[in-house]
């Protein structure tokens, strides 16, 4: 989508006046909708819809052996799939760059042990651990992908139930383990520290959060900050353009406060979800 100069001017001025084209202020978010446990065969799943951005995340588990360098840690792997339904640009290999960018950003954000405790995923030091496959499917793009993806990933991880391991028997080099047969003998992951990403978009001289597609087109550059609790876990610059050190600092501050607000809202919402609610799915 290309915008004409007059539309860009209109958006630019609206950001300057702190009254954006849909009436939001610079630090405001659009309302979102969340559903967890939406993909039955997976261990945990979530779907988040933020205006026109639609993200589906599912978590799968497998038993793997830990790496030699980190024998006590489990593994987590992110895979992003850009559906060509989202925009025609994703057709063929068109979305690959964006997909790797998002998955790299996520894995670096989840690397820190304070953000995500991979030690809990270890079953037997050095030989057995859980591996989490987090599959992210972008169904629709309406701006602000990173934020939506990180929120959906956090919700899906919150929803994930890991089967309890009853016993582990070591016999020489062979490791035998018994997983509980009970369907509901599971434990949840602790995701309170899981990072939330916030895209801070620079338009004119001001910084905004949660840009729409049109606003993204007007932006001179943006910073994605991943914040876990109150610490930064990853910072990434996307889009062309350069940022002045002062602007960068400002946007980091804005990103941090917004991420904390988002985080507490998300956790509150997740607590409200009860398991017996009916499935909504995609049919409106």
């Amino acid at each position: 989508m290309a915008l004409c100069e007059a539309e860009k001017t209109f958006i630019l001025h609206s950001v300057e006046e702190n009254f954006r084209i849909d009436g939001r202020q610079r630090g405001d978010y659009r309302p979102m909708e969340l559903e967890t446990n939406i993909v039955a065969p997976s261990f945990g799943s979530a779907r988040l819809r933020l205006a026109n951005t639609d993200v589906l995340v599912s978590v799968k588990l497998e038993i793997d052996s830990p790496t030699l360098e980190q024998p006590k840690l489990g593994k987590i792997e992110f895979f992003v799939d850009c559906s060509a339904n989202a925009t025609p640009d994703f057709e063929g290999r068109g979305g690959d760059n964006l997909a790797t960018e998002i998955s790299n950003c996520l894995s670096s954000a989840y690397k820190s042990s304070t953000a995500f405790d991979a030690g809990k995923l270890c079953i037997l030091k050095g030989s057995k651990c859980w591996k989490l496959y987090v599959d992210i499917l972008l169904l629709e793009c309406g701006g602000n992908l990173y934020d939506a993806v990180s929120l959906a990933v956090k919700a899906a991880l919150w929803d994930t139930r890991i089967p309890l391991v009853k016993s582990v028997v070591v016999d020489g080099n062979k490791v035998d383990m018994e997983v509980s047969d009970e369907l509901f003998d599971c434990e949840r992951l602790d995701v309170t520290g899981a990072p939330i990403m916030v895209t801070v978009c620079k338009i004119g001289d001001q910084c905004i959060v949660d840009p729409t597609t049109a606003e993204e087109h007007c932006s001179g550059g943006s910073v994605v900050v991943a914040v876990s609790k109150s610490n930064f876990s990853t910072i990434l610059q996307t889009g062309g353009g350069s940022l002045h050190p002062m602007t960068l600092l400002e946007s980091l501050k804005l990103g941090q406060t917004v991420a904390q607000r988002l985080d507490s809202t998300l956790i509150n919402t997740l607590k409200q979800i009860n398991d017996n609610s009916t499935d909504v799915g995609f049919l409106k």
């Binding site: 004409c4 209109f10 309302p31 969340l34 919402t269 609610s277």
Partner: protein
């Protein structure tokens, strides 16, 4: 809603339908038998099989005497001569512009079917061809009228009137073409202080009210220096959110419904109108006022 973030739960979603107490019209699905009579005529969106008339799209039945057609709920725009459309230039070609108008194929705007700046009337020379990008370039928004429909369904547009031409500062929103109510006038100067162009193709343009004198200079002037005052911005944003609320509840869009929605939305702040609950509320109140108006 300043600074507060809303994350709703899908199972608590509000039903956007406003036709609760009223008769919901029957929606035909593809392959469904409409009638088994043979005397009726086959219109758009239907086909004959085994002596029955069946629907080929999902939509509502329309009957004109013996002609039966199914009007699809969601579709691309099917142009008709005389329709006013809003479109975006996608390409500048030899003697023509390609325009995105939400139809299946890109529409064309010929160099010979635009007004030259200043309203000069003459044959288009090679020089004009070189100047084409000066008039309209990729990404520019225009309002135009459908001049001709080709056999493949693509449209030929023209802007040979002072009311058509390049659009300046404002907001574009996209809705389903079926939601735009057909009426004589597409250009509305709403009394609340903004202008709305309801394109038949589902593209709606909202901009600050323009002086008709200023406008008549020609269709290619954009004033980028002008800063739209915050009051007008608020009106535009409110109209934008109101139209989206009506569109979400599948209500017809025309000047009265937009005005009613605007008035009913006054109790919410503009940004609050993004919340699904507020959107449905505004749509419901508008629906009530419209039925009242109808019954009078």
């Amino acid at each position: 809603m300043s600074n507060k973030i809303h994350i709703g739960i899908a199972s608590d979603r509000v039903n956007p339908s406003v036709a609760l107490n009223q008769r919901v019209p029957k929606i035909y699905t593809p392959g469904e038998v409409i009638t088994e009579q043979n005397e009726l005529m086959r219109g758009h969106g239907t086909y004959e099989e085994d002596g029955c008339l069946k629907s080929s799209v999902a939509g509502l039945k329309e009957e004109v005497n013996k002609l039966i057609s199914i009007k699809p709920l969601k579709s691309r725009y099917n142009g008709e001569i005389g329709d006013v459309v809003v479109g975006r230039i996608t390409e500048v070609q030899q003697r023509r512009w390609k325009v995105e108008t939400n139809s299946r194929l890109d529409s064309v705007l010929l160099l010979s079917s635009v007004n030259l700046p200043g309203g000069e009337l003459r044959r288009r020379s090679a020089e004009d061809e070189h100047m084409m990008r000066k008039y309209l370039q990729e990404g520019d928004l225009i309002s135009a009228e459908v001049q001709n429909v080709f056999t493949d369904g693509s449209l030929s547009l023209h802007t040979r009137s002072l009311k058509y031409g390049k659009l300046s500062q404002g907001v574009l929103i996209k809705v389903f073409p079926a939601l735009i109510k057909r009426s004589k006038t597409r250009f509305h100067n709403l009394s609340v202080g903004a202008s709305v162009i309801l394109g038949n193709n589902g593209f709606i343009w909202i901009c600050p009210t323009v002086n008709t004198e200023e406008e008549s200079v020609g269709g290619f002037i954009q004033n980028l220096e002008y800063i739209v005052p915050i009051e007008e911005r608020e009106i535009i944003a409110r109209i934008r959110n109101c139209i989206l609320a009506l569109a979400q509840s599948k209500m017809m869009l025309f000047d009265t419904s937009i005005l009613f929605a605007f008035e009913e939305s006054k109790k919410y702040a503009v940004a609050e109108l993004l919340l699904p609950e507020a959107m449905v509320d505004v749509a419901l109140l508008t629906q009530q006022r419209l039925t009242l108006l109808e019954n009078q």
